[in-house]
Amino acid sequence: MAAVIDPVGTLDPPPTRGRRGVRRRRFESTPYLLVIPTILVIVLTLGIPLYKIVMLAFQHQSKRQLYTNKPGDWVGFQNFSDVLSDKDFWSSVERTFLITVLLVVFSMLLALGLALLLNQVSKWVRTPLMVLLLFVWAIPQIVAVELFAWFTDPSFGVLNYVLTQLGFDGFKTHDWFVNPVQGWIVIMALVIWQALPFLTVTLAAGMSMVPKELGEAARMDGANPFQVFRTVTYPTIKPLLVIATSLSVIWDFQLFGQAYVIRQNKPEPSYQVLGIFSYTEAFGHSDYGLGAAISILTILAMLGMMVFYVRQMLRIGDGD
């Protein structure tokens, strides 16, 4: 279990100056030899594409120019100013932030509750629950999307049937995606359903490391369950909470596949989040320069939000 917290950095002893000093004394080729293949792969699969996308963002490129690999016309910051003055762009930015916040808050709260639950139930309940979580975790995103689409099918979907049976009117052939609020509820349920296993297993692993005696002692002293959580459980799982939340933000901000596929590859305007917006601008409207500009803005926004996370990870990695 120690390994779980270790990478977070809580158990790592601070690197001693002396050891590093010794290592620095003469030039070593070994680390470079070791790291060269990694660098080559990253340059080929990420470096070149990122370079291209930056270049593309300053060009106007048509479909023909793209596929014949002819350079586009240089337009300077035209794409960026086009994007930044586009109403649809700003509404998808707004939507992206709203959806991200809702998704992160709900999935973290539910995961926390579920992790607490896992630590309270009897073994005969816990084991099947854990197996189910693994099962859900293992289900490919596309499969999950198709599943939820099937669920909410207007004619044969089980959701409408159950709601009708429960006595709700008007659900007989109800299309869940006509009203974007309802559509987003379905999509968010799908995203959260898929995210819960990872979050819950991580947090539950953290909670199982809380010394039982501490909780007992706090209870003896008259602490209520909430106080026990705040003073005993929370400090122990805090590093894991930070990581899980950061990862949730990263994943939810990048939301693409679920909304795109559940709308049958043709999402309506109210389902446009940033990922989908850049994709449809580029491929739907064949304006690759514009798509590239949106992509770059997305990455920058993400880096801006994640600056603390990146810093912490850099410190951990560099500390070895």
């Binding site: 390994a3 779980v4 270790d6 590093r20 070994t30 030899l33 070791l34 790291v35 293949p37 990694t38 660098i39 080929l44 699969t45 990420l46 070149i48 594409p49 370079y51 291209k52 639950l117 896992l118 630590n119 009897s122 073994k123 309940v125 629950l129 854990m130 693994l134 099962f135 293992a138 289900i139 490919p140 995103q141 596309i142 198709e146 599943l147 939820f148 689409a149 099937w150 004619s155 044969f156 049937y161 359903w193 819960l196 539950a204 692993a205 199982s208 039982k212 950061s246 990263i250 693409f256 596929v261 850049s278 798509g291 992509s295 880096l303 990146v310 990870m313 850099l314 990695g317 070895d320």
Partner: protein, 298 residues
């Protein structure tokens, strides 16, 4: 199980409480358990419904009153999926691409992780930053330029091209996760091995490699899942229907021109999930460790 709460131990240690206290504790437990069962039912329902639908013939799933238990369970849809266009070839492609990407990343990633975990060198921070940057870059962003690069290299519509493309997320992830595992191997072991006459490379292979075994397993399973589940890059880069993977096949089947055959689709979905479920159940012990150590996409 990853999560051990030690309920049994607590019961043994707890002093025998007075009768009313024991009763309250028991009913509290029953409350928690019923909440657990409720969660199980809600979260498990989609999985159940997938399997349930896959066992029904069309005239049964295409019914305004869904049957919660198939009346005439049949494997018809599974044989239907196996005989569907491009199903077998997509399944095979999925395995080839995924296993290829995982093996290549394990080799490259192990060495990269060694460099980061065991040495300090100029540019180390830059390497770590790039590894982290990858998870901030949505795959959608890479679609256009990667398509171009693959065309430049004449690797579009090939499995090798896709395998190389997938290294963009499997390699950085492997490097970062294995770094965590290698850091947990005490440096004293390296030093002892070298005192005993091992060369540096022998130390890597004979000491560190075996000790990161669980890490290698966890890492390859996560890499497997990511590569297995990918669909954005492959559907854009490869247009040949014989060079697609299972995810692409599922999308194709779902947006079929003659209306969706939900029975076959759910059978295909079940088949697609099985390899990953098996892998997951096999390594459940290392599960939490691997992901938090990596802290990269899962």
């Amino acid at each position: 199980m990853t999560v051990s709460t030690g309920t049994g131990r607590r019961r043994a240690v707890a002093p025998a409480p007075r009768r009313s206290g024991a009763g309250r504790k028991k009913s509290k437990k029953a409350l928690w358990n019923s909440a657990g069962i409720l969660v199980f039912a809600i979260m498990g329902f989609p999985v159940y419904w997938m399997i349930n639908t896959s066992l029904k013939k069309q005239n049964e799933w295409q019914n305004y009153t869904p049957h919660f238990i198939p009346e005439h369970p049949t494997l018809h849809n599974f044989t239907g999926a196996f005989h569907a266009d491009n199903f077998l070839i997509s399944l095979r492609n999925s395995f080839v691409i995924t296993i290829g990407a995982v093996l290549i990343s394990l080799v490259i990633g192990f060495f990269g992780a060694l460099a980061i975990a065991r040495f300090s060198f100029a540019g180390k921070k830059a390497v770590i930053f790039t590894v982290l940057l990858v998870q901030m870059v949505p795959l959608v962003v890479l679609v256009i330029p990667v398509t171009q690069t693959m065309q430049d290299l004449n690797l579009n519509d090939t499995l090798i091209g896709i395998t190389i493309t997938y290294l963009v997320f499997t390699v950085p992830y492997t490097v970062w996760t294995l770094r965590g595992f290698i850091s947990n191997v005490p440096r004293e072991l390296d030093e002892a091995a070298m005192v005993d006459g091992c060369s540096r490379w022998q130390t890597f292979v004979r000491i560190i490699l075996p000790l990161t075994g669980p890490g290698l397993v966890a890492t390859s399973v996560y890499g497997f899942i990511q590569a297995w589940n990918e669909f954005i890059l492959i559907t854009t880069i490869n247009h040949d229907h014989r060079k697609q993977n299972m995810q692409a096949w599922l999308i194709d089947t779902a947006v079929g021109s003659r209306g969706t055959d939900w029975g076959v689709l759910m059978a295909g979905a079940t088949i697609t999930s099985i390899p990953v479920v098996i892998l997951f159940l096999a390594i459940q012990k290392n599960l939490a460790t691997g992901l938090t150590a990596g802290a990269v996409k899962g």
